[in-house]
Amino acid sequence: MRRKLGYADVTPKNLYLSRRTLMAGAAGLAAGALLPGGALARIAAEASPYSIDATPTAYEDITSYNNFYEFGVDKGDPKAHAGALTTEPWSVVIDGLVGRPGTYPLEDLVAPARLEERIYRLRCVEGWSMVIPWIGFPLADVLSRAEPGSGARYVAFETLMRPEEMPGQRGFFQPLDWPYVEGLRLDEAMHPLTILATGLYGEELPNQNGAPLRLVVPWKYGFKSIKSIVRITLTADQPPTTWNLQNPREYGFYSNVNPAVDHPRWSQATERVIGGGIFAPRRETELFNGYAEEVGHLYAGMDLTVHY
């Protein structure tokens, strides 16, 4: 289904960002909420050969059906409560085994990037999927600029910890340990499919989808794609990850989409398709969410039932 990869396919679509639109895009990211009439900025972005050929799920569904436990455990909680989150100013600490550690203002990370639209299927570990037209840029760009040291083998990520604005982080009943942390192997992080997203549907990310900056790793279950990132750390050892800490038997470090490796409590062979109404046929889940050709080599020789 996916368009064949290859640079011949990357035909310029007259969507190349001029320096001006780029700056306007970045400024729009920062000032979107302040635009007159509350209109969101349209972000200019290039089409990408990595996009899948599938109709995106409705904006309403993508932005109202979210797992973002910092705002509550119900799917509707993030939309109901994330509005209060302050996303500017925003900066990301990049540290660990890098040549240029530091605190990077969001604008400095986004401005040099060539924003692309990546239409990816998001497969949740709970057994449903939706198709999301992300706007973002390769994580590799940011990592390269920070100059990973020779000993770096993993990348650790951390979500914002701000109980005043994140009701799921307050109170007696805490479903997870905060802050939410995730991790990738460095080669996974450098893979061109792995992006940092700043928008979707041509607009800046709604808070409930992980504004202002989130990871998207399309061949892994959704919880690996950590939201509202405040820290990226390069490490020599495999970093801890939130769901793995919560239940190591059910959620592994890799968490690659794999129809043949079931969740201990439910099957992963098929998925409910979000947005199609009650008669939408289930989808057969694909190995690596359909990206086996692109990422299969990363796991050559590994037993995926052990490294789930």
Binding site: S64, Y65, W128, R272, I278, R282
Partner: protein, 214 residues
Amino acid sequence: MPVMQGAGTINQALRRLPTGPGYLVGLVPAAYWITLAFQNRLGADPVRTLEHELGIIALQFLVAALAVTPLRELTGVSFLRFRRMFGLLAFAYAILHFTTWLVLDRQLDWPRILADLVKRPYIILGMTALLMLIPLAATSFDRAVRWLGGARWRRLHRLAYPATALAAVHFIWLVKTWPLEPLLYAAVVALLLAWRARGAVFSRRRRIRGQRAA
């Protein structure tokens, strides 16, 4: 037996209520959720929402049926006339919940349905609960009570306790973390079971004491 002030008045009012229309009223939420589902007005994941709403209501009616006796013993207020209705509505909702799973969620994919039914603990628990409710629903008519005899009928209908307990565990088993709601239901069901166990111990003691006195 402790009696709450005003219990008599409440009971009088309850006695005047007919039970027949109660079944229709009890099915209104089902009609509501199913209509919204067909109109595609249940949000992004309507099948799951429908499945959940029907499951929750089934559990609520089971809890209501089990709460009738403790409520009467604690307050004097008696819903005894409505207990059969609570139980049958619970059964109806459990069947609708199961049908939603079979038809809309699993889409009659029989090999995978059978695999789930033997492999997934939370499905096995739900199915066991539902199977336990079948003989109860089937013997819920006056003639069945007469035919079985009161003692045997009551013994059979104690199945409502394990069925509700399994349903509560089924709920806990399918969530990803430890959210409050399933734990609250489990706590309420545990209290009802404890009440019932206490009652059983008391009546046995009373019986034994009675035998000694004789």
